[in-house]
Every structure is written in structure tokens, then in C-alpha cells.
Amino acid sequence: MMDAGLPLLEVTDLATHFHTQRGLLRAVDGVSFSVRRGQTLGIVGESGSGKSALARTIIRILSKRHTTTTGRITFEGRDLLTVSEPDMRDIRGRDIAMVFQDPTSSLNPVKQVGVQIEEVLARHLGLRGRAAQTRAIELLTSVGMPLPQERLHQYPHQLSGGMRQRVAIAIALACEPKLLIADEPTTALDVTIQAQILDLLHRRQKAHHMAMILISHDLGVVAGYTDTVAVMYAGQIVEQASTRSLFRNCRMPYTAALMRSAPNLSDPPHTRLRAITGRPPDMVLPPPGCRFEPRCDDATDICRNRRPALSASDADGTHRYACWHPVASPGASA
């Protein structure tokens, strides 16, 4: 495609620290990755691993007073961390849009659906009145909403969960953004609706040649819809690879543990799921060495004392992991 060489979004050594009563909470701690146009990056991790904080950092919607952000977020050649707030407001919603986890809480309960869509159109495209309404109906149709015209005057509580998430997606797609960040877009939905919503996102992405960051705690979701995957643990990326390579040949024990903890159709009935024991570390006082060390079966002294850097596992350097004792075998899990 056009600028195939240059990534649309490049995040370099990004850190987001929350100021809490107990001290600095390192929600995101030195994360780097990039996303190209038309590509989908999956970010996987347990809850509390810093995925949502990362998403909110990229579009800069965290409160300045309670957070400190360092690093670089290069979007179309501009560093989003140095862009002025008014310029950033022009980017949010128009160039970068976001879909949140739970549409029940992410749609304003006291505003009609139509108003919530139309205000983005007014803000970024200057569409008002009839034009905005027509466009809103188009958008609702494009996200598979039955009876779009009547929906405009309904309130979120009058819609089902899946319908609400379709509205949220319509809002996100309103200005045909170049990058869509979907933060656990299906977690709050019924299982039967999840696949529909993911398919919808996938179709719209192909149609607009849009880049997407799909955040999930569910490896199954990530496996089916992403080109590359980054595994996050305790605010850091611990393994990063093309989706194929990751699922064929994961190297980081945490990734391996995540895969084992997901049910697999090929397992014989009554196979026990292997949950990861222990809990993620306290991010105010993280362990000095590898952050997964306290829960890792293979940990040794070096894991306790020194933090492993992300290192390449294959020749072209696209599969990278941070571990002193990587899982050895290719095809450890399939």
C-alpha cells in the first residue's frame, strides 16, 4: 500500500505512572510497539496488566494531575505527547477513535443515541441538522443496526447490550478514523453477540483500511482477528510476535501459562484448566528482576535480580520476548 514502510503509530518506551496515596503506580512501564495501516495489533494480558491505561495514554484522556507520562507516541510523524491539547482534541475522535469495554457505562445514559453520534459529526466534520441525521442513520446501518431511524431518538437503556456496542462502534467510526483502539470491546457482552461484534469490527476495518489495536484478555479473540500480538504483564510487554509465530512458538513462560489456562477444544473432556497461581505484582513496588518471577515455575536467581530485556528469537527480529529461561521447544502449544 501507500506508505507501507512507515508505521501509522509508533510507541517508544512509553511509561504511564499514576500518583496514588501509596506512591507511584507504574501502570505502563516502558512499552514499545508499532502499528501499520490496515493492520491489527492485539494486546493481551490479565486484568490489571496496564492494557486499558495504555489505550487511554495513547489518546491522552488520563487526568494530567494524577498521571505522569514519558516516552514517545508517534502518530503520522507527530509526537502525540508534545501536541497541544486543542490539536489533540482534533485528533481524538477524528484520526484516532476508541471503543470501550462496557457500552452500558460508556454511553451517556441521559442523551439520545442520535445526539451522541451527531455530536462527533458536528465536532469534526461540521455536519449539523439534517445532514448529520442522514449520516448518523448511514452509520447505524453500517454497523448492522435494525431500524436505524427510530434508534436516533432512543436512550441507551432502551437498547440491548449488543445494540449499545454497535452504537459505540458507530460513534467510533463516524469520522472514518485512521486508528481504532478497541478496549475489550466484547468482554461485557453475551457470548453469542461477541463474534458478531468482532466480525463487524473486522469488516469495517477492511472497508476503511484502518489500523486497529484490539485489547483483550482472551487469547481466542486475539488469535482470530489480529496480525501481530503483544503480551502485556505488569505494565510491560513480555512477548511480541506475529500472531502465527506467537501461537506456534511462544517463548515466554507467562504466554505459555496464558495459553494453558484457556480451554482448548482438542483437549479430552474433563481436562483440568491450569490457572496461573498467584497474583500480578503490586505495581507500586514491583519486583526488581523479572516481574513474572514470583509466579514462574522456572525462576532462578538471575530472574530475581535482573530484569530481562526484550530480545529477538528469530532471524528477522519480529518475534521478541523478555525472559532469562525461555520456553524452548518450537510448537510448545498449538
Binding site: I59, G93, M98, F100, L107, H124, H157
Partner: protein, 313 residues
């Protein structure tokens, strides 16, 4: 929406009946005797009996209630024992002053409380927020009559910006009318501000942590738009309920403030009637004010439904 209103209307009718009955019983079940209260303890039994007959007090309680309720519904509240003027006439005479005072003070209170509450929630923990909270703490400890006297002393007596006492009807001279009502309204508004402010600020802080505010930001909307068009309405439910309940405090405020500033309102008339033991007037004022209070809270319920679409169902 219609069924919601109907349900509220039904409730309103019941509450009004209760309030009317209570107003009546208050005057008729208490120990003591109106006739004695009126004539003084030295009155002869014959005189007392005569007054009782005149007032219809020798009738059974239920008859008197029905008689009174019938009159009440037709706008007849009897005559003042002392001036012989129909109670309804006196009340209608004084009511506009009090209503204007209440509207002004309530409006002023909200006019100050909404921007400060929104701003301090947005800047929670900042210097300006701490300052506003400290001011709130002080005002909360200052009863309305102390505020009224302080305002009068500063702005009317020392600086001479505004008149200290007296009243001019709005129709006669709107400017002078407002000049006379400015300090009384401000005194009540300042006394009410702390609680309105605290409630709005607290709810607003909670609202600003909601995902739909994060989404509004992700849409690229500016802070003013988000605060006033997205966050204010869902944060104002408690504020609206409270400002309805606050009317009770405003009534107390009006009683005092009208006395201090010499406003010819219903509050001052009621206080006077209490001194003079003009029971018919007291009863009429109590009934009218209570009904007004109930009606205002009914209106608040309707506003609530307009604000929150989820309530209507």
C-alpha cells in the same frame, strides 16, 4: 412518561389531603382553647362560650373539618380573629412578595452553586477547590439571620449601596424592587449554597470518573462541552431533589429575612399572627405554605423525570 405523571399526581392528591388534615388538626387537637387564647385567661365563661359559638367551635370535630376543607377548596380560609379581614385576601396580598423572594434566592443559590460545584469537581483537590470548601464550611456555620444582618450592615448601612429596609412592588418600579430584594435574597442564597455546592461537587466527581466521560473525551470534545453538556445533567439528580427539600429551609429563611428587612411578605405576616395568636391567620398561612411546599416537590419530581430518561418508565 404519562403513567409516571399519573402516579405522581395520585400521590400528590393523597399528600395534599394529609397536609390539609394535619394543618386543621394542628389547630384543633392541641391542648388549650382558641377562645381562651383569644380572650385571655380572665375571660368570663359566658364570653368564652359566645366566642366558641361564633367560631363554630361547639360543633363536632369532623363537621368542623369538612366545613373547613370545603372552604379551603373554595379559597375561603375564614376571617382573621383580630382584623376581620378574610385570611385568603391577606395571604394573596402578601404572597407575591414571598414568592419573588424565594424565586430570587433559590435562583441565586443555584446560579452560584452550579458553576462553583462544576468547577471544583473538575479541579478537585486544587487550591480553588480547597478555598471553596473552606468557604462552605464557614457559611454552613452562619445561620441565615446572621448573614442577613452582616449583609445589611456592610452593604446597606456602611457602604450604602442598597436600601436596608422597605419594599417597592415590582410593577411600580422594577429596579427599586430588585434593589430592596437583593440583600434578602442573597442572604438566603448564601446560607443555602454550601449544601447545594457540596452535593453537586460530590456527584460531579463521581460522574467524571464514568466511562461515558472518557468516551466524550475520546470523541475530541472540549472540557466545557463535556462538563456542561455531558456531565452536569447526570450529576444533578441529587441537586434537584435537594433544592426541592431546601424550600423548607428557604421558608424558615424567608420568615427571618422578611422580618429583618421589613418586607411585607407572608413570612412576616405569619410571625405577626403567631405573636397576636390570630389562629385563623396562622392556620391559613400554614395550610397555604404547606400546600405550596408539597406542590414544589411535585414539580421537582417532574423535573427529575425530564432529567433522567430512565425514571420515566
Amino acid at each position: 412518561m404519562t403513567s409516571y405523571v399519573l402516579r405522581k399526581l395520585l400521590r400528590l392528591g393523597l399528600v395534599l389531603l394529609v397536609v390539609a388534615a394535619a394543618s386543621f388538626l394542628l389547630m384543633n387537637l392541641l391542648p388549650g382553647d382558641v377562645a381562651l387564647a383569644l380572650l385571655g385567661n380572665e375571660a368570663t365563661p359566658e364570653a368564652v362560650a359566645q366566642v366558641r359559638a361564633e367560631l363554630g367551635l361547639d360543633q363536632p370535630l369532623l363537621m368542623r373539618y369538612l366545613h373547613w376543607l370545603g372552604g379551603f377548596l373554595c379559597g375561603d380560609l375564614g376571617r382573621s380573629y383580630i382584623t376581620q379581614v378574610p385570611v385568603m385576601e391577606s395571604i394573596l396580598d402578601r404572597l407575591p412578595v414571598t414568592i419573588e423572594l424565594m424565586l430570587l434566592s433559590q435562583g441565586l443559590a443555584l446560579l452560584i452553586a452550579v458553576p462553583t460545584g462544576v468547577l471544583c469537581a473538575y479541579k478537585a483537590g486544587s487550591r480553588i477547590d480547597q478555598l471553596a470548601n473552606a468557604v462552605g464550611l464557614f457559611l454552613l456555620a452562619a445561620p441565615v439571620f446572621i448573614l442577613a444582618i452582616l449583609l445589611m450592615f456592610l452593604f446597606a448601612l456602611k457602604l450604602r449601596w442598597l436600601p436596608s429596609t422597605g419594599y417597592v412592588p415590582f410593577m411600580t418600579d422594577p429596579v427599586r424592587n430588585l434593589a430592596h430584594l437583593a440583600l434578602p435574597a442573597l442572604a438566603i442564597a448564601l446560607a443555602e449554597w454550601p449544601s447545594l455546592f457540596a452535593v453537586l461537587r460530590g456527584d460531579m466527581i463521581k460522574t467524571l470518573q464514568q466511562d461515558y466521560i472518557a468516551l466524550a473525551k475520546a470523541k475530541g470534545l472540549g472540557p466545557a462541552f463535556i462538563l456542561f453538556r455531558h456531565a452536569l445533567r447526570p450529576s444533578s439528580f441529587t441537586l434537584v431533589t435537594l433544592s426541592g427539600l431546601q424550600i423548607a429551609a428557604t421558608i424558615a429563611g424567608a420568615l427571618v429575612v422578611e422580618t429583618i428587612f421589613g418586607l411585607p411578605g407572608i413570612g412576616r405576616m405569619l410571625t405577626g399572627a403567631v405573636y397576636n395568636r390570630d389562629m385563623m391567620l396562622v392556620q391559613g398561612c400554614v395550610a397555604v405554605i404547606s400546600v405550596g411546599y408539597v406542590l414544589i416537590n411535585f414539580g421537582v419530581d417532574l423535573i427529575y423525570a425530564l432529567l433522567d430518561p430512565r425514571v420515566r418508565q
